[in-house]
Point group: C2
C-alpha cells in the first residue's frame, strides 16, 4: 500500500498547527478551527519516494502539506521528468474547479511527509460558505502563477549555475520563512537528480555547478541539508534582486 492513514488518535490538530499561517486557512477565525478540522477527512503519511497521486488520474481529495518536502512533476512522453513545484509545509495542492478533470501532474514525497486530506466537496462547501476563503484561494492561485512565471523565466533565460542558484535561494528563503534555519542551513532532501529535473539540466552538470558553488563558498548541499554561506552572492549569481528593505531578505 502506497500511503498510510494516520490513526485518529495521532492526528495533528488545526488549532495548534504551526504552519496554518502559510495555508489556505490562514485567515479562518480561531473559533472556526474545529469546524475546519471537521472538514478534514484525515492525514496521510508518506515515506520518501512514495506517490500521493499520479498524472492522468482523478482525485477526490485535495491536500495541505503538513510536514516534510514533496515534489510536483510531470513525465513527458519520452520519459523525461520535469519538476514543476517544490512543496513545503503549508502548501496547498490538488485543487481543480472541475471535479472530473484528471490531474495534470503527479506528486511524490521527497522526505517523510504528512498531508492533511480534504474531500473536494468539502473544499467547495468551505469556499461557498466562507467568502474570505474564496479570496484566499484566488490569492494562492495567483501566487502559483507568479511562481510559475519565475520558474519559466529562470529555465528559459538563465545558465545552469544561475538556475541552480535560484532554486537554492528560493527553497532556502521559503524554508526560512517557516523558521527552520539552523546554522545557516535547512533540511533539503532533494537529490541532484531531482534538482536536475527541476531546472532542466543533466544530473552530471548539476554536480558540476554545485561543486562550483561549493568551491566559491557560496552554498553547498550535502547529507540532506542545504547550506547557504553567502545569501547575497547566491542571489547575485541567480541574478535575483533581493528586497531587504524590511531588514530581512525577501524574494521580490
Amino acid at each position: 500500500m502506497n500511503k498510510m492513514e494516520v490513526p485518529a488518535e495521532k492526528l495533528s490538530s488545526c488549532s495548534t498547527c504551526s504552519v496554518r499561517r502559510f495555508a489556505l486557512y490562514k485567515d479562518i477565525p480561531l473559533d472556526s478551527l474545529s469546524w475546519l478540522q471537521g472538514m478534514r477527512s484525515g492525514q496521510y503519511r508518506l515515506s520518501p519516494k512514495q506517490s500521493l497521486y499520479t498524472e492522468g488520474n482523478l482525485s477526490r481529495e485535495v491536500f495541505t502539506l503538513f510536514s516534510g518536502m514533496a515534489l510536483v512533476f510531470r513525465i513527458l512522453p519520452e520519459g523525461k521528468r520535469q519538476i514543476l513545484r517544490i512543496l513545503l509545509p503549508g502548501d496547498f495542492l490538488g485543487f481543480q474547479v472541475d471535479l472530473d478533470q484528471p490531474m495534470d501532474h503527479s506528486v511524490i514525497a521527497a522526505s517523510e511527509c504528512v498531508f492533511c486530506v480534504f474531500p473536494k466537496e468539502n473544499i467547495r462547501r468551505m469556499i461557498r460558505e466562507i467568502p474570505e476563503l474564496t479570496m484566499r484561494m484566488m490569492e494562492l492561485q495567483s501566487e502559483s502563477v507568479i511562481d510559475c512565471h519565475d520558474w519559466i523565466a529562470s529555465i528559459g533565460q538563465k545558465t545552469a549555475i544561475q538556475r541552480v542558484a535560484q532554486l537554492f535561494l528560493m527553497v532556502y528563503l521559503r524554508i526560512r520563512e517557516r523558521g527552520a534555519v539552523q546554522d545557516s542551513s535547512v533540511i533539503f532532501p532533494l537529490t541532484q537528480h531531482d534538482i536536475a529535473d527541476a531546472v532542466g539540466v543533466t544530473p552530471v552538470h548539476v554536480s558540476r555547478v554545485a561543486s562550483e558553488l561549493r568551491k566559491e563558498q557560496i552554498a553547498d548541499c550535502k547529507q540532506g541539508r542545504l547550506y547557504v554561506y553567502n545569501l547575497q552572492q547566491l542571489a547575485d549569481i541567480a541574478s535575483v534582486k533581493l528586497d531587504n528593505t524590511t531588514g530581512v531578505y525577501r524574494w521580490r
Copy 2:
C-alpha cells in the same frame, strides 16, 4: 500617448460579442449582459509594439483581449526577455487579489489589439455578487497554472525544434477553437525574435528550426501567418499527444 480609448459610439457590445464564450463572463446569463457591459469602463486600442501595462507598476484595471494578439512577458535583470503567455481574443489578464501589488509582468500588443477594460473594484464586486463568476475565475486561474506547467515542461525538457513545434501547435489549435483558420493557416504576428523569447532559444536558431519545419512541409510561418500543413507530424515533433476522440484534434 500609448493606448487609445475607443470612442463611446464605436464600443463593441457584450451581447453580440463573438469571443464571450472564451471569456471570464462566458456563463453570465443573457439578461445580465447589459449589467456586465456597465461594469466595463471602456475599450483600449493598441497598435503593434504598444504597451498595455508594465512590470513593477500598479494597475487599477483588468482586461479581456477582444481582438488581436498580445504578449505577456518579463524582462530579467540582464535585459533578457521571457515571454510567458500568448494572449488571444477572450483571454483575461491583469487580475490580482491584492490591489496594491505591482504587476509581475508586462503586456504588449503583437498586432493591432482591442482590450475591454474593467476597473478592479468592479471585478471584485462582480465576483462578490455573482457566485458562478467566482468559480469561473478559479477555473481560469487553474487553466493558467496548467498552461504554465506545459510551458515549463517544454522549455525544461525539450529541444529547440520541439519547443517551436509545440508553440506553433498550441497557438494554431487555440486560434482554431476560435474559428479563425483559413486554408490551414492562421494569423500569426509574432516575429522569430518573439518566438525565440518565448521558447528560450536564440532568434538565429529559431530561424534554423523554422526552416527545418518548412523543408519537411510540416509548418511554415511567413507574412504574418502560420501555416500548418501536417498537424499530426507537428504534434509528433513537439511530442505532444493529441486527443482526437471527438473527431477534432485537441490539446490533451
